[in-house]
């Protein structure tokens, strides 16, 4: 059902392909856009940031235009977005961005700034007058139906059952619009610290070759698990013994 009188905004970001890192339309935001287009023929599609070429993908997914709210590097998208969508009835977005901080907090902070209710993990959205009914995702196949009154911020779950279509003709027809710059605050200091990942050494373990019965017996027995104690000999001989062990158990391939 279409509600042309509603003012609906879809917030979109630049995502990144997990394999190549290529910028693209964020999958979750595409779902939000598609859900918005199913509710009203005209949707304001907003992006805070640079007019990246990847935003054209949203045109292909059905946005008539994408309005780009300029944002200095490192600035928080909250203030310009909140100023832009004030007065809207429904604000849809993906739950979490694919690039950048991806903290998933924007819908909550936006709702707080606009003093609106927020519903996350939305799978299906139905408008009932000035009330929205939302089917929410819960783990293990469970679903929950919640209702909120408009205006509201709704974050789509990545598994929302929608089939957005990429249409080149729409990409060709649509365009990116730049909005005047708005004052933006710097990003809030993240409480998280980042440090390089360290690869932990892995224990080489010979593959289990015993049958199940023998393994059970081994679990209750206190006898030695096999192997040999090498105390005698030179360092080279001890190294040789280790190497032989690794080779016989096919833990190294040379």
């Amino acid at each position: 059902m279409m509600f042309p009188q509603l003012k609906i905004a879809a917030l979109v970001s630049v995502g990144r392909n997990p394999a190549s890192g290529a910028p693209r339309a964020a999958r979750n935001d595409v779902l939000a856009l598609d859900a918005a287009l199913a509710l009203a023929p005209e949707v304001s599609v907003l992006h805070a940031g640079d007019a990246a070429p990847a935003l054209h993908d949203y045109l292909a997914y059905g946005a008539a235009s994408v309005e780009v709210l300029p944002l200095p590097a490192g600035a928080d998208a909250l203030a310009p977005l909140a100023a832009r969508v004030a007065g809207y009835d429904l604000i849809l977005c993906g739950q979490r961005a694919e690039a950048g901080q991806g903290s998933g907090t924007l819908p909550y902070r936006l709702a707080k700034a606009l003093n609106m209710p927020v519903v996350s993990a939305a799978l299906e959205i139905t408008l009932l007058g000035d009330i929205v009914e939302i089917v929410q995702f819960l783990p293990k196949g469970q679903r929950r139906v919640v209702r909120v009154s408009l205006p509201a911020v709704i974050a789509l779950h990545p598994l929302a059952p929608r089939a957005p279509r990429y249409v080149y003709a729409r990409l060709r027809a649509g365009r990116l619009l730049s909005a005047p710059a708005l004052v933006a605050a710097p990003l809030p200091v993240s409480p998280w610290q980042s440090e390089p990942a360290v690869k932990k050494p892995q224990k080489l373990k010979p593959p289990e070759t015993r049958q199940g019965h023998a393994r059970l017996l081994g679990a209750i027995a206190t006898e030695s698990k096999g192997g040999a104690l090498v105390r005698e000999g030179s360092a080279a001989e001890k190294a040789r013994a280790i190497l032989d062990y690794l080779r016989t158990n096919r833990l190294i391939e040379f």
């Binding site: 392909n17 394999a19 190549s20 693209r24 292909a60 279509r165 249409v167």
Partner: protein, 626 residues
Amino acid sequence: MHSLDHLVTLLFWLAVAALAFGTMRRARLWRAGAAAPFNWAQLLTVPRRYLVDVHHVVARDPYIARTHMLVAGGAVAAVALVALNYGLMLYWPLLNGAIVLAAAVMLGGSYLVWQRRRAPLPRLSAGPWNRLPYTLAAFALGLLALALLPSALLSGFFAALIMLALLAGTAELVLGIGTGGPMKHAVAGVLHLAFHPRAERFAMRSTALRPLDLAAPVLGVEKPTDFRWNQLLGFDACVQCGKCEAACPAFAAGQPLNPKKFIQDMVLGFSGGSDAAFAGSSYPGITLGGHSGAPEEPILPALLAPETLWSCTTCRACVEECPMQIEHVDAIIDLRRFQTLARGALPGKGAEMLGNLRETATQGGYDNAARYHWAVDLNVRQIRPGESVDVLLVAGEGAFDMRYQRSLRALVKLLQAASVDFAILGALEVDTGDTARRLGDEATFQAQAARLIATLSTLTFGRILTADPHVFHSLKNEYPALGGHFTVLHHTVFLAGLASSGQLKLSATSETRAITYHDPCYLGRYNGETEAPRALLRQIGVRLTEMERSGLRGRCCGGGGGAPLTDIPGTQRIPDIRIADARATGAGLVAVACPGCTAMLEGVVGPRPEVIDVAELLAAALEGQA
């Protein structure tokens, strides 16, 4: 001078007028199509195209070739003589004698047509086509009687009978074009040969798709009038012989596609109407009467079900079989272009693959840097700008498939054994976009092509070598239109050259199983290369047992045209049919030369012949190895 002769003269000129009027009427329908170059002088090409190109196809079935020669030859000669003798009011007895001869030939041919239609093959259309032997015979008999019997001796009744027969035959011959009857093929067929939408095919094997102007107001074909006018004319040339239907792998697999019905539906589209009167086999699983079209109405879904459009494997078996030289696959792709570019309506995994291509330059969504992991331990050079190399190896999407990596490794082993100066494109390679193009996504194809052409233009190499016929076809035949001109070789052709020059030393194979060879469509039908792989197999002592459909008429594996992605269900799978073909020869091993065919044929469950690439068979037969 007798009144009967004058009557015939009148009938002749009436018939000429009816033919002209009908042709004009039909031409108005064709001309509603989009613009295409036009030149009257092209009519001069018809005799050669008819006698060489059409005959080449028709002659595969000697019975119908003889039949058509007698009927059409007799009819054309008879009509020409009637034009002379009666049209110009000469009434010479000598010409009457010649008419007798021509009419007798035509009558003989009509008898053969009748014989053919007594127990018709399922691929033939019935309906109006079944009356053809009778109307043709009536025309021939009328002429015979007219020319043989002195009209002074004829009773009024008998003269009326003769006129009736002539009238029936003439009506069949001249009203067909105006009313869409069976004999419209005579006019539309001749004009189609002259103004063929793919005129290059009469000079050489022409299989490349036309580039689409991405700025065009309509992307591809939505309504029948979006086809170019000569494509519409081409649909009208169809004689409903059903040779395409018999060759179509999707039809055989029970998928909802029948090339003959497809062409007839396109005719319905530009002439308007419902398919209830269609007198041939329908699309499997789709009953007749449910579809109708009009010139300015969208073709999908009212006239054509989307499942029909996406069942095609673009194998060109229908085009290869068509005596009227109709281009089914071009029409399918035109329709797909609109569906993909203007509607985004691809079934199955098609859209996902196109997204992968745009984002990762691979069909499977892989990390493109992993494209050459198969070669890391083979000590193969990766090409770099500024370094020149003779042969550049382009792997294609098969490089991500662990099965096809075996074939690629075998190929590298052969190249190294023959001391070829070669390098791989490495992580610089991006997908050719071939599959995107078959699925109608010309935008993604052209973007991929521009990327690959830009990469290749920074490198110095002599030739491109690939083991993937789809890469081969697209680089060799379709990139030139986009500005990429390269010398491209398929690995079987290149290896055959090395083997015959002695650079590649091969011994006899140790393989004892019976071997058959499966022709990839994109190597055989698309590029005419059926001999090189066979020559290579002969070189290692293989005695091939050929399958029933092989060479240029080989049966598709089901993997072309993005069909595995759109995955339209049928009653069986195309690769199962192909493996059944192989089993029927008693072969224990199917030699292949394409990653697509390998994957499709290896996907057949149950006991089946082993599927091995020609390169792997050769690598196992390299001389001097343990």
